[in-house]
């Protein structure tokens, strides 16, 4: 079996008495979409935060591309190729769509230190940014102020910025959140393509999307992974049906 791209071992994080992450172990293998599902407050975002470096765990280890990154800051992990999208869009709203994508391209190149030449005349990063926008379907609105985008377009832009980082792994926190069904279908199709670029760790509430996309699913409840399995296994598991999918057994 090939080595996992990203792995988490025995991760724990408490907020006071609350164990938001309670001994989580999981991994992300090359070429897969690994979905994490779980009820509200299960600790999904907290887990993602620790994987990306925004929160430091109380115990446990995080390995990325074979290296222990547990102690590295967010930007070091990003430079290694860990591309994250946020549950709540985090974009420069006053800037244009292209400028947001360009920021990713400049970050990926590690070259923000140009003081006189217009950033948009930098052919390399600009091409990268434009390609990413084309891929997510935002090519036509590149010159629009980000604040004027629809909610769905902002989610697409989050993905485009991640794409400019030439990522080795995507970590996405509820990319479908707040999208209508047409929007989620579009984004589902896009994520299915992204898998070819790099594996995706996908936190998502939209079960249609998860069942359509995921190669494996982990179920997180009260900070613990109660099971990991294929779509069929998870669908068939009575605990999941009861606790999460809301079906009567």
């Amino acid at each position: 079996m090939t080595d996992p791209v990203l792995s988490v071992e025995g991760l724990c994080k408490s907020f006071g008495a609350l164990r938001a992450t309670d001994g989580v172990t999981l991994d992300l293998r090359p070429g897969e979409i690994h979905a994490i599902i779980g009820p509200n407050g299960a600790g999904k975002s907290t887990l993602i935060q620790q994987i990306c470096g925004g929160l430091s765990p109380d115990a446990g280890r995080i390995r990325f591309l074979g290296a222990d990154v547990t102690a590295l800051p967010v930007r070091a992990r990003a430079r290694m190729g860990l591309a994250r999208t946020f549950q709540i869009s985090s974009l420069a709203m006053e800037d244009t769509v292209l400028q947001n994508a360009l920021l990713g391209a400049l970050g990926a190149a590690g070259r923000p230190w140009g003081f006189l030449r217009p950033a948009l005349r930098d052919a390399g990063p600009r091409t990268l940014a434009e390609q990413a926008l084309e891929r997510v379907g935002l090519g036509d609105v590149a010159a629009v102020r980000t604040a004027e985008l629809s909610h769905g377009q902002r989610r697409q832009l989050e993905v485009a910025v991640a794409l400019t980082l030439s990522p080795r792994a995507f970590v996405m926190d509820e990319p479908m959140a707040g999208l209508g069904s047409a929007g989620s279908q579009q984004l589902t199709a896009l994520l299915a393509e992204l898998k070819a670029d790099a594996p995706v760790l996908l936190v998502e509430h939209d079960m249609d999307a998860v069942f359509a996309l995921a190669d494996r699913i982990s179920v997180l409840v009260y900070g613990q992974v109660v099971m990991t399995g294929t779509v069929e296994e998870v669908r068939a598991d009575p605990r999941v049906r009861e606790a999460y999918l809301g079906d009567a057994p």
């Binding site: 591309a83 420069a92 920021l103 590690g110 923000p112 140009g114 003081f115 980082l165």
Partner: protein, 327 residues
């Protein structure tokens, strides 16, 4: 042509026409006022780089203004008294040459901005404001209690410093120098806003988390912005001291930091010509209302309140609307 560009060109035309007219009619005092406005505009342009692009609400920019002023004062004092700044390890003489004074003012205020930034940028929001204010007070009291350079009384420089090929004692020539600096810095600011650094800094102001997730360090971007900002305001301080041929601890005062902030807010935060518009209006009001009532600051306060409540883009915003997206 966008309305903002029209506004900027009109402002530029006034900066040339008013002093030219004053020169022709022999109104020397108007030239002095215009020089004061241009120097304040330069100081505020410095702040606008930190505040408008980087979102750094510094209430301590008088530190850099004062450092620039004292750089000029100390160098000129040693030159006019024929004493060296220091004899060890090498003898460093004073100077009356503006280019050298400017360079020292820029370097020392940039260094101060670096040190202040390293400490202050560990915090954000109100704490950042408080730390910058505290640094201002530290420098103020330090200047007061430093007898070698005049202490509380400050020190006077007998003759304005020189610039090769110009007679800086002639008001219009000194004005020309100050205006040239303002134009150079405005040009630089315009380029900076569109550069890679400007793009990243802009994003660091709006969404620091985002900047970090693309692998950049928002704090380092802001630190560099503060250094550039401090250097510009320091240069303005050196020119201001030369205008008055006098430096005193008031150049470090929090009131002055507040005024620099007021120029930017009245004119328009983050707008290229905001500091210019704000500083010119301030100097005009100071002159016109100051002659009528000693309480003219009250009217300034009313104006400020009006702008903050109703015209978020300041004067530039009122004339030119919301800023266009940079292309």
């Amino acid at each position: 042509m966008s309305r903002e560009r029209a506004f900027n060109l009109a402002a530029l035309a006034l900066l040339v026409a008013v002093p030219a007219w004053a020169q022709l009619t022999g109104e020397t005092f108007t030239i002095t006022l215009a020089t004061r406005a241009v120097i304040f505009a330069l100081a505020a342009t410095g702040l606008n780089i930190a505040l408008g692009l980087g979102g750094l609400v510094s209430l301590g920019h008088a530190v850099f203004f004062g450092i620039g002023g004292y750089a000029m004062g100390i160098l000129a004092f040693h030159a006019q008294s024929y004493t060296p700044l220091t004899d060890w390890p090498v003898t460093i003489p004073g100077t009356k040459l503006m280019p050298v004074i400017w360079l020292v003012a820029i370097l020392v205020s940039a260094l101060a901005a670096l040190l202040i930034g390293l400490l202050a940028l560990r915090t954000t929001g109100v704490y950042f404001i408080m730390i910058t204010l505290a640094f201002g007070q530290m420098f103020y009291y330090f200047a007061i209690s430093w007898p070698a350079y005049g202490g509380e009384d400050g020190m006077a420089i007998y003759v304005r410093n020189g610039f090769p090929g110009l007679n800086t004692l002639i008001p219009i020539q000194f004005y020309g120098l100050c205006l040239a600096w303002l134009l150079v810095v405005l040009w630089f600011n315009a380029r900076l806003a569109r550069s890679r650094f400007g793009l990243a800094l802009n994003a660091a102001r709006q969404a620091p988390q985002r900047v970090e997730t693309v692998g950049l360090d928002p704090v380092r971007l802001k630190l560099v912005a503060l250094v550039i900002s401090g250097a510009v305001t320091g240069l303005a301080g050196a020119l201001f001291a030369d205008l008055n041929r006098f430096v005193s601890p008031t150049m470090f005062s929090w009131q002055l930091s507040g005024e620099i902030m007021v120029f930017v807010i009245i004119g328009g935060v983050g707008r290229l010509f905001g500091p210019v518009a704000g500083a010119c209006l301030f100097v005009a009001l100071e002159h016109l209302l100051g002659g009528i009532t000693a309480y003219w600051h009250v009217w300034l306060g009313v104006l400020l309140l009006f702008i903050v409540l109703f015209g978020r883009g300041g004067l530039v915003g009122i004339f030119a609307g919301r800023g266009a997206v940079h292309d």
